[in-house]
Amino acid sequence: MKRRTFLGAVGAALAIAVTSGASLAADWPKRPINLVVPYKAGGGTDAYARAISKAAEGILDVPVVVVNKPGSAGLNGANSAVGARPDGYTMMMTSGGSFLLSTLTLDTDIDALESFQFVAQVGQLQTSLMVPTGSPFQSVQDVIDAAKADPGSLRWAHSGRGGFHHVGGLGFLASNGIDAQDVPFKGGGPTRAALIGEQADFGFLGVQQLAGFEDQLRALAVNSQDRDAVMKDVPSFGELGIPFAAVSSPVIVFAPKDTPAEIVSAMETALEQIASKPEFAELLAPRGTGPVYQKGVDAKATLSAMKNDARPLVESLSN
């Protein structure tokens, strides 16, 4: 009897030893999950991360901690996440379009499509063509006509060269065969302020930036085939029949490459539940954004397609 107990204990110990690798994944999550955001707190991506962190209560048993690691157009945070221990406790949430473009334009070993596993997409940031309320331009066609009438006379503002707003704007100019001088500002807020102050003739900035500024700005079109899910009053380039480059920025959660598949799929499910929570949408609404969920595989496909679209534009940047 005693011997049998002993053997059983040994067996159990062995079983624990053997399965401990697997149980690491099965027990996940046991500790708080660090969600690296490679931008300063306060931006669009950060708003998503903080909403996820709040809405995760009740779905994940552990807190989701937002860790801002800004710098180098988002590559600083990506660098720290790519080398993190692949145990499911460090993941990265980033603006997919900007991340993709910065890996293409800056000197880095990170490949947006290959260096990480795609967990899921939870949101979407879209750029749009805006003018100040006092502007003579009432429609996109007015802008195109004015640019054609006097090439190079117009100034347009965006939030930094190489970002998806800049590339989106370049795509609009290139596909319509027009020419305008860009004036980069640092980030969305200063760009919006400059546009309100009529320092530029038009600007490409996040469509969500219109929220609360309807009296100062007029959004002529959002840079996509269909209208934005939240800012529904703004027409899209697609419905206006105006050619554009499909550059947007899906907000995607990435995991380090070697994270166990069980953990990635558990997180994917958790994110799906979080994204469908009404609380999540409520947290985002004042920012003019909303939940847009896609599975990891689909998010990767979206980003690959964007890479092909953006490549010629990016090449024109580095001339």
Partner: protein
């Protein structure tokens, strides 16, 4: 008149009131401790405020700044070492008063004058900031550049003991600011292929380095040179009470100081120390008893103290409406706004007007708080500071600065930056370079370059854009006038402007 509902909402929030009270005490202690400045304390406390709500964080740091400027006068009067550069002028008459056994009287005059000056500054800020914000939206890159230009000129011409060293300090600040990505084309500059340097040099580690670590190093050196410095001016507190008859002649000096301080505060880059010296000089010129000044005149305490505190409020105007920090404290507060996702600049008054007025309300309550504590408790604060031995205090400060530098961005690289900046700050102090000019030009250079190049993009590289736009032209003229004015009076100024462009 948005300030009244804001005041009401702040007064009815007990936790916020407690935070203001705490900040007033912390600021006073920090300001009164020689070698610890309010900007250093704010830089070190910045990471803690990540966990507070925006209003809490801003009010806490803003009040520390105000009360720290006042606290500097305690050390200036009692120990003849200005707690902050801003109170260097206070020491001229404050210390003789302390030697004459009138330390308590002098501190009470300093308290009342600081409160008067600070309130004047804040009232002018509240009255004028909405107007400035309204026109700020119309200011584009050319106008903003002109304002930066004026600020640079003013720094360049008010740089303390040695003009050459002052200019060199400012130039070094510009050079360090260039490290990182080009603001327009995003190309790397001065990064030497280092990934970390491509982020640029962070303001917080740089400031903690030069202000805190550099100061600790300097103090270590001081101690070795003169072991056993004595503070023999702790006189019996028999002549501490202040009568209305005694303060009455100080009143015009306090009001004039308040106006001078407020006027200087609006211009970015000048700061409290300059305001204090100008007010002292102006006060002495107009005084009925100029021969008393410098030997222990109460008016000589009132004039600079009112001026250096009056800077506090108006210096928020360029920060909030244009995003141009006029002082080192302003630069840190700018970071707090950004961390909490509030975009400082012309649109601030459209998005977060209530928050701004609540912050102003907190500032006013903070003035009242340090006024009351200071009036009745300044002597106790001074005793407390004397009780903490420096061989306990400085190691703690030393350790805290490492933690603070790391925690701001969770980056070891920032710790390296801070350490290097610490040695640079120590060397600069040792050789009489101007640290504040270095830091302020570091802060201004980025914005100046960005707006200059944006302007050129707007005008197809034509420089006329700066002259065609009336507001831009006006500020350029102000800058040029400042140069002319300084050159004219530089000989006269150099006698009294021994103080540096300090802890503004």
């Amino acid at each position: 008149m948005e300030i009244f509902p804001a005041l009401l909402s702040v007064v009815t929030d007990p936790t916020l009131l407690a935070a203001i009270l705490l900040a007033a005490v912390v600021g006073m202690i920090v300001g009164a401790t020689p070698g610890l400045t309010a900007s250093a304390a704010i830089a070190m406390l910045l990471p803690i405020t990540f966990y507070m709500s925006p209003l809490f964080a801003l009010a806490f740091l803003y009040v520390i700044g105000k009360s720290g400027r006042y606290g500097g006068s305690i050390a200036a009067i009692l120990f003849n070492t200005p707690g902050t550069a801003a109170s260097a002028a206070t020491q001229i008459d404050g210390y003789p008063l302390a030697r004459a056994g009138k330390a308590g009287k002098a501190m009470k005059v300093a308290t009342i004058s600081s409160v008067i000056g600070d309130f004047m500054g804040d009232i002018l800020l509240v009255a004028g900031v909405g107007f400035i914000a309204a026109i700020a939206l119309k200011l584009g890159p050319p106008e903003t550049f002109a304002i930066y230009f004026a600020a640079f000129v003013v720094i360049g011409s008010v740089i303390g003991k040695s003009i050459v060293k002052g200019l060199a300090s400012a130039l070094l600040g510009v050079l360090v600011a260039m490290v990182g990505l080009d603001p327009i084309s995003s190309e790397e500059r001065y990064t030497f292929g280092s990934f970390e340097l491509s982020n640029g040099i962070g303001l917080v580690p740089l400031m903690i380095g030069v202000f805190v670590l550099g100061e600790v190093f300097s103090q270590m050196e001081e101690r070795r040179k003169s072991a056993g410095r004595i503070d023999d001016n702790q006189t019996a507190a028999d002549d501490d009470s202040l009568t209305w008859e005694e303060y009455k002649p100080c009143l015009p000096h306090a009001f004039r100081g308040g106006l001078i301080g407020a006027g200087i505060g609006v211009l970015p880059g000048l700061g409290s120390a300059i305001a204090a010296f100008i007010s002292y000089g102006e006060g002495k010129r107009r005084a009925t008893n100029p021969q008393q000044w410098g030997k222990g005149a109460l008016e000589g305490v009132a004039a600079p103290e009112a001026a250096n505190n009056a800077v506090s409020g108006p210096s928020m105007a360029p920060l909030l409406t244009l995003g141009i920090p006029g002082s080192t404290i302003g630069a840190i507060l700018l970071g707090v706004f950004l961390i909490h996702g509030i975009q400082v600049g012309p649109t601030l008054f459209l998005t977060d007007k209530e928050l701004v007025y609540r912050l102003f309300a907190c500032g006013m309550l903070g003035i009242a708080a340090y006024g009351v504590i200071g009036y009745f408790g300044a002597t106790q604060v001074a005793r407390l500071i004397l009780k903490i031995p420096t061989n306990v205090l400085y190691p703690i400060i030393f350790l805290t600065s490492f933690v603070a530098a790391y925690s701001a961005r969770a980056s070891m690289f920032d710790v390296t930056v801070m350490t290097v900046a610490g040695f640079v700050g120590w060397l600069m102090r040792r050789h009489d370079f101007n640290i504040a000019a270095f830091v302020i030009s570091f802060v201004l250079a980025k914005g100046a370059e960005e707006t200059f190049r944006q302007s050129l993009l707007m005008s197809d590289s034509g420089l006329l854009i700066f002259f065609e736009r009336p507001i831009a032209l006006a500020f350029l003229l102000i800058g040029c006038a400042a140069i002319a004015f300084r050159i004219r009076s530089i000989v006269k100024e150099r006698r009294i402007a021994d103080g540096e462009l300090g802890d503004a």
